[in-house]
Symmetry: C2
Subunit: 130 residues, 2 copies
C-alpha cells in the first residue's frame, strides 16, 4: 500500500515554445507530449514534469480542473558526481544561480529560475535520506 514516488509534478506556464527551449534544449529533458495551446510534458528521470498553459486546465471538462499561479518550487535530483557539471551547465546556459546551500548530511543544492520565474533546485541524491 506504499506510495512509490510522486510521479507527476505540474507547472503553469505562458509560452510552450519558451518552456520547451528551457526544459528540453537547456536542461536536456526529453519531450514526451505536446498539445499546442495547452501543454508540453517532459520526462525527468523516473518522474514527469507537466507544463500547462496557465488557465487552460481550469476550463477542463473531462478531467478534474486544476490551475495555479505564482512562482512554484520544485527540485530535480542528480547524482553527486554530476552536481558540479550541472552547475556548469546552468551557468553555461546563461542562467543566474540564485542561491547555493549545503544541508544536513552535507548534501548540496542550488537554485535558479525557469522562464516563468518558477524556482527550480538541483539537489544531490541522498538528500532527505530515505
Amino acid at each position: 500500500m506504499s506510495i512509490r514516488q510522486i510521479k507527476e509534478t505540474c507547472l503553469y506556464v505562458t509560452d510552450l515554445d519558451r518552456t520547451t527551449q528551457f526544459y528540453h534544449e537547456a536542461l536536456g529533458l526529453p519531450v514526451i507530449g505536446r498539445v499546442d495551446g495547452r501543454h508540453v510534458f517532459f520526462r525527468a528521470g523516473t518522474s514527469v514534469l507537466l507544463c500547462f498553459i496557465a488557465g487552460k486546465t481550469k476550463e477542463d471538462q473531462e478531467l478534474p480542473a486544476h490551475y495555479g499561479s505564482g512562482q512554484l518550487h520544485m527540485a530535480f535530483e542528480v547524482a553527486p558526481a554530476d552536481y558540479a557539471n550541472w552547475q556548469e551547465k546552468i551557468r553555461a546556459a546563461g542562467l543566474p544561480i540564485l542561491h547555493e546551500a549545503t544541508w544536513k548530511g552535507g548534501h548540496r543544492s542550488f537554485y535558479f529560475h525557469d522562464p516563468d520565474g518558477h524556482v527550480l533546485e538541483i539537489v544531490e541524491e541522498g538528500m532527505w535520506g530515505g
Copy 2:
C-alpha cells in the same frame, strides 16, 4: 548528467494541522519535518512533498522566494496490485473520487481533492513508460 527524478514537489496550504491530518493520517505519508506557521514536509516513497503555508515562503530572505495559489495538480504512483486498495482507502476516508481514467497502455488512475482543493491523482506504476 541525467536527472534521476523530481525529488521535491510543493503545495501551498492554509492549515498545517489539517494538511497533516490528510496526508499523514488519511494517506499514511510519514511526516519528515514541520515548522509551525511555515511548513510540514512528508515522505512520498522516493520523493518528498513540501507543504508550505501560502504566502510565508514569498517573504523568504535566506532562500529564494517561492509561492503559489490555485488548485495545483500532482500524482502519486502506486503498484498496480495496490491500486484497488488505494481506491478503497480513499473512499473509506470519506473522500469523493472525482474521476477515474484508463490511459494508453491500460494504466489506470483516479483523482481526488486534498483539503485545500489541490487535485491529487493516484496512478499505476508503468504509466508514462520509462
